[in-house]
Symmetry: C2
Subunit: 123 residues, 2 copies
C-alpha cells in the first residue's frame, strides 16, 4: 500500500451543487478550480481517460508508462497530481502500483458542470 499520509485531504463531499442551481462560493471555487486545473493538461487527461476506460477496473502503472512516450518520473508526476486531487486512487501490490478512478469525485465535477436544469428552463 502506498503511503497516503503525505497527501492533503480532499473534501469531495463538500463540493458542489450544480452551478446552474446556485453561484459558487469563493471556497468552493478554489477547491473545484484545483481539480479542473489538474484536468487542464492533455497528458494528464489521457492518463485519467486510460484508467477510466477500464470501467471501474484497475490499471497497472507499467501499462500506463507503456502507453505514453514519456519517462517514468513524468508519468509518476501526472499520476500524483491526479491522486492528490482525488480523481484516482492506487495501491501497491508487489512490484507494481495499480490505479483506479474515484467515481464519486468524477461524478461531483460532472454534476457541477451539468446545465440540464438551465436547459429545461430555456426549452
Amino acid at each position: 500500500m502506498v503511503s497516503r499520509k503525505s497527501l492533503p485531504v480532499i473534501d469531495t463531499a463538500a463540493c458542489c451543487a450544480p452551478m446552474v442551481a446556485e453561484a459558487l462560493s469563493p471556497e468552493g471555487a478554489t477547491e473545484l478550480a484545483r481539480a479542473f486545473k489538474v484536468l487542464g493538461d492533455p497528458v494528464r487527461l489521457r492518463v485519467l481517460s486510460l484508467i477510466a476506460a477500464r470501467n471501474g477496473g484497475e490499471v497497472c502503472v507499467c501499462e500506463i508508462t507503456d502507453a505514453f512516450d514519456l519517462t517514468g518520473p513524468t508519468i509518476s508526476y501526472h499520476l500524483r497530481q491526479l491522486r492528490e486531487s482525488g480523481l484516482v486512487d492506487c495501491e501497491r501490490r508487489g512490484t507494481w502500483v495499480y490505479y483506479w478512478i474515484v467515481p464519486g469525485r468524477l461524478a461531483g465535477l460532472s454534476q457541477f458542470l451539468d446545465p440540464s436544469d438551465a436547459a429545461e428552463e430555456m426549452s
Copy 2:
C-alpha cells in the same frame, strides 16, 4: 454585437464520448484540456457560475464587474477566456455586453466526466 472574427473556432461537437466508454485520443485531449484549463481558475469559475446561476438568462458585464473586487480589464480577460473556450457567449446592446452560458458546451464537458457507466459496472 461583439466581433467574433478574431476568436478561434471551437469544434465542441467533435469532443467527446464519456471517458469511461473509451480512452481519449491525443487530439480530443488537447481540445478538452484547454477547456478544463480555463475552468482551472477560481475567479473564472465564479464568473462562469454567476452567469450559469441565471439559469439560461443573461448577465450584464456591469453586474459581473460589481460582484468582484477586481478591475474591469481583469474581468474582461477572464470573460474572454471563457468565451474563447466556448463556455459562454455574449452580445453588445447599447453600453453593455451581456453574457450567457452555452449549455451544449457545459453538457459535453459534464458528459465526458460522467462515471455513471463505470459505476453501474462496479455496483
